[in-house]
Symmetry: C2
Subunit: 188 residues, 2 copies
């Protein structure tokens, strides 16, 4: 699969990420992005609400697919199995392009407002996961802890995946973090 | 132990929290807080840098004490034992007054900027915890996961403590969350 979605949307995303890396997010204007992508600002706004949305527009799809995976998991699944199913769906949605994830991560880590935005998105995702677990009949306290624990596993796995020098799959990184969590809690 | 520290600092904190609850954080001015506490705005600024600091000034003490507990834990402690020692120190620092924690939490949850600030403080605390684990010789990946897992346990325990109808100690809530985490990971 190619890195950028075809057409103007993909060109705009590529142009935006490159400009954010070259000049910084605050110094890049929508007009600069449109110009680099060879389209008008009007076209930019057909794809993205603002320049921040280029970085965060995957969140809705990620949430939708992960909740669908959680809902579709077998009736025998434990709370942590359900969380793992949700995280695997996240990996299937964003895991195909590590270079894109790296560029995005570099842009976000360089800007305090974007780091805040990312923390908020993660907190919202965690709350949605806990709600999904409750809908699957998991008790309130267990759902809350399983969702927060899944969020912890995901944060760690994501950083490892983005930082890994060699080949690493996001799904594999998530599995490794879950295995390490079991070792941690068993050793204690 | 009384709820408010003695003197003008305690009166200012009490006045501020009550006003934030009555009028909202954004609608409360430093002059209002000083007036309610019976002091001048100049006195307010001897205790707090701004009206937000009334809510977040415990963070430095919490971080310092929890890192000291982590550093002072026995050499045989596992990564999760070290995290538990750090969280117990957090409980000892803020756990003596649930009503104060509830008021603060209500104010924060009602305001998007304050919720963001709280998420940032938690993320900084998690990063400091991971660094503390590394200084105790815990490997990089394990330190990262143990710190994030501890943060998950803490978030859940804190919410349970604040929301509990009956008696509940913050330290007890943390112990319960750790026990539940072990059950969750063992069941999987």
């Amino acid at each position: 699969m190619g890195r950028w979605e075809p057409g103007a949307g993909g060109r705009l995303r590529e142009a935006a990420l490159n400009l954010y890396l070259e000049r910084g997010f605050d110094q890049t204007m929508v007009n600069d992005i449109a110009e680099r992508a060879g389209v008008t600002a009007r076209t930019f706004f057909r794809y993205f609400g603002d320049k921040r949305e280029v970085l965060f527009d995957a969140a809705a799809e990620v949430e939708e697919k992960s909740l669908a995976a959680l809902e579709g998991a077998p009736a025998t699944a434990s709370a942590l199995d359900l969380v793992a199913a949700a995280l695997e769906a996240v990996a299937d949605t964003i895991g195909h392009d590590r270079e894109l994830a790296r560029m995005r991560q570099t842009v976000i880590m360089a800007n305090a407002d974007l780091r805040e935005r990312e923390l908020i998105k993660l907190a919202q995702m965690t709350a949605a996961l806990a709600d999904g677990l409750r809908r699957r009949g998991i008790g309130d306290a267990e759902a809350d802890l399983a969702a927060e624990t899944g969020s912890a596993v995901y944060r760690v796995a994501f950083r490892r995946w983005v930082d890994a020098a060699g080949d690493l799959d996001l799904r594999e990184a998530i599995d490794q973090s879950f295995a390490q969590l079991r070792t941690l809690t068993a050793a204690d």
